[in-house]
Point group: C2
Amino acid sequence: MTPRTGTEDGHVPVPADPRHHVADPRARLRAAGLRVTAPRQAVLGVLGEHPHSTAEAVASAVRSRLGSVSTQAVYDVLAACVDAGLVRRIEPAGSAARYETRTGDNHHHVVCRSCGATADVDCVVGEPPCLTPSDAGGFVVDEAEVVFWGTCPSCHAARVGLAGPTTARRPVTQHESHHHEERRT
Amino acid sequence: MTPRTGTEDGHVPVPADPRHHVADPRARLRAAGLRVTAPRQAVLGVLGEHPHSTAEAVASAVRSRLGSVSTQAVYDVLAACVDAGLVRRIEPAGSAARYETRTGDNHHHVVCRSCGATADVDCVVGEPPCLTPSDAGGFVVDEAEVVFWGTCPSCHAARVGLAGPTTARRPVTQHESHHHEERRT
DNA sequence: CACCGAGACTGGAACGAGTCAAGAAAAGGA
DNA sequence: TCCTTTTCTTGACTCGTTCCAGTCTCGGTG
């Protein structure tokens, strides 16, 4: 994800989007039976603009809107929203958890190995083929989660035209984010 | 840290032999060009017997064989083996990393939501259908990782016993009960 | 429209899983 | 065997996240 610096404009004028995906946070909170508070609206707003943000990224974005919000509050809000089904939490290996407001459809993700950028991928072949493992060893499966690993456009470009010095790119992944796998082109 | 130029790249992948996870640890280590040490043999041995173990589980199992081995040594060994392609590391959301000796084939996993038990699942429809997302948003994808979430046989039985059928699909990500382990395909 | 209680936030400490660094101990080729 | 290289031991430390206890506030009620 790209935590751009300039953080949004104070309020979202309901851009008349197709679904209520990007609808007014207030409305969604109410609909979910959750209290409407500033931190919650802010969190939903931020996530709407920057999907796949980490808790910390959300926290700082929220702070830049509201002034000061405790980290704990952000975690609480996120947890509450996840519980209520307003937010989905994904946890790609080797990085902190990321959150997004697109719920309901079981879409998947592509994650960049080098910078951690994440993008949505609609369900693979149209229908969920992955939902039926040939043999689940007796498990009762209720969800299939797919993560595609690869290289995002910009990292790929950087790598191809490389020879470039260590221009401080965005070291998004602090933990071991490089599982050198390759093979299989 | 971005995987900048080279540094620790260029490891020589071991010719993946499907039977490797049954072979003598010593032989495998040699074949991979790694030194043969007691901790390493023990780690591979343990993983052979208990696939999908966490680092901590491996550590304690190894200790019960060798007496005393530092946690750090276990992490080092695991990392070395992963690098050499002798061990694969998986990291299901909400639990610590797990390791297995079955490498080479890109198989997937089923994870039990309530106890964390993990089992292998052979690639879904025979061939990897998941490897080709319809639209990867410009990403260059090189691997697809699939995790099936559900309930393992014993947890399922337990649940059915005292409540209605599995209807509640809530994210049970609490620290799962310990040492509830595997079952093979 | 002030009141009140469950449910939100605050701040700080605590935790689990891993990583880093420096030195002691071995593995194995010469 | 000796010596170099790699591995193991200790122990401090980071990160992301959670737990706790106290304070504040949303929003339903009198």
